[in-house]
Symmetry: C2
Subunit: 228 residues, 2 copies
């Protein structure tokens, strides 16, 4: 369902070029559960942003569910994203003066097909699934770091996406809350969702079925997880 | 050097009250290395903000280096903070359209005593110590999550504070980079700094000498770390 071919991404900072991705060839079948690991600055978020259609590659090709994505317009990419992908941002990207439940509802609002009719109810349930049923009227600055992270997760999942891309979804969560979140991803995966999550914690990566490691913008290893 | 007495903090959200801290009694001697742990929402950041003089308690007392802090004005608290404390925020709090080196320099600029004369040089060295020597002119949105976290760390340390308060300083860092950061904290601790860091990772907490656990706004355990 996800196929990249020599994907590259170059950033320009003044007169310096940063080669964030140097040629990524990646193939993910529908229903897989993949963990992406690698050191800070190795290109994980850059790759996730390309896979999530939030950004366009400098070179190479990207096919999502069989159709070419690189080269699509901003509007076309946004439509695909809203229909197929649930994205958990490393920096959450919550609207600051908006309550948790409204932040989650917005994800349903942007789905042009409006497959889910009762948006408030769906948003409340999404927040309850991540343990925030009693925090729904708090705005981000009235929430702890891990609670903000969980609102971002609820927002990514409320539209029941077929592809879940999560960039460090447990970075600010204690072990027990992290396990609750990973179990939630596992359950959605067993129901058919393709899950790709970036993590720097081996314990979390062990819950996936395949680990892809990045280093300096290249894939250096790609293995199935043993003992599962 | 840090002493709290029945510290409480109440937040008001509409007509709901959130009792974030319910009476914290904590004593930290100069030169200690303490890890604070607890589940998401248990009150860790709230406690750190009180210890860092960024916020005032609803009740109880707080003594820093022998003098009472609760009851001081905003200006008085800011002065103490700039002179004695280096604070690493869970959400980094970097200035968005400002380069990494300028973000770090600002911490020196705000030190009224201007103990460090060559601010640019000190800022460059602080960034090199966290591995960002080649990213100093990038602004936060041109940096990876873990790089932004390291700029926040460099900014907290550049003024050579006697008290380091770090709220989840390795949450977005891979294992190797996390160890580099923790070794940096250990070195500063061996040079006399008091270090209190919030972490949800046991591996990181094992590098401290004492672990304080919070649950629902109360300290539930306070032990020295074995096997060190
Ligand atoms: N400004 C605020 N207004 C209202 N409630 C708040 C505010 N800040 C924090 N809270 C609430 O107080 C509780 C403690 O928050 P705190 O940020 O201290 O948690 P934490 O232990 O740091 O969690 P995490 O590990 O997720 O960062 C949380 O339940 C949170 O919802
Ligand atoms: N908008 C940008 N402009 C310039 N450079 C960028 C930009 N975004 C990322 N970079 C650089 O590209 C490299 C890869 O960044 P990326 O965010 O993908 O790393 P990452 O693997 O997600 O790291 P982390 O684990 O710290 O989140 C980094 O060295 C970073 O400095
Ligand atoms: Mg990243
Ligand atoms: Mg916190």
């Amino acid at each position: 369902v996800i196929e990249t071919n020599k994907l590259t991404k170059l950033f320009q900072v003044g007169d310096i070029s940063v080669q964030a991705l140097r040629g990524i060839d990646m193939l993910v079948e529908e229903g897989e559960f993949v963990a992406i690991m690698g050191s800070s600055g190795s290109g994980k978020s850059t790759l996730m942003n390309l896979l999530g259609c939030l950004d366009t590659p400098t070179g190479g090709e990207y096919f999502l569910a069989g159709s070419r994505v690189n080269g699509l317009s901003k509007i076309e990419r946004a439509t695909i994203r809203n229909q197929k992908i649930g994205f958990v941002f490393q920096g959450y990207n919550l609207l600051p003066r908006t309550s948790a439940v409204e932040n989650v509802e917005l994800a349903l609002f942007y789905d042009r097909e409006r497959r889910i009719k009762n948006m408030r109810q769906a948003a409340i349930e999404a927040l309850e699934r991540v343990g925030l049923g009693d925090r729904m009227h708090h705005s981000p600055n009235q929430l702890s770091g891990g609670q903000q992270q969980r609102v971002a997760i609820a927002r990514a999942l409320v539209n029941k996406p077929s592809i879940i891309l999560a960039d460090e979804p447990t970075g600010n969560l204690d072990s027990r809350t992290s396990l609750e979140i990973i179990s939630l991803f596992q359950r959605l995966n067993s129901e058919g969702a393709t899950v790709i999550l970036v993590t720097h914690e081996d314990d979390i990566a062990q819950y996936s079925r395949r680990i892809v490691k990045l280093k300096d913008g290249l894939i250096i290893s790609d293995h199935t997880v043993e003992n599962r």
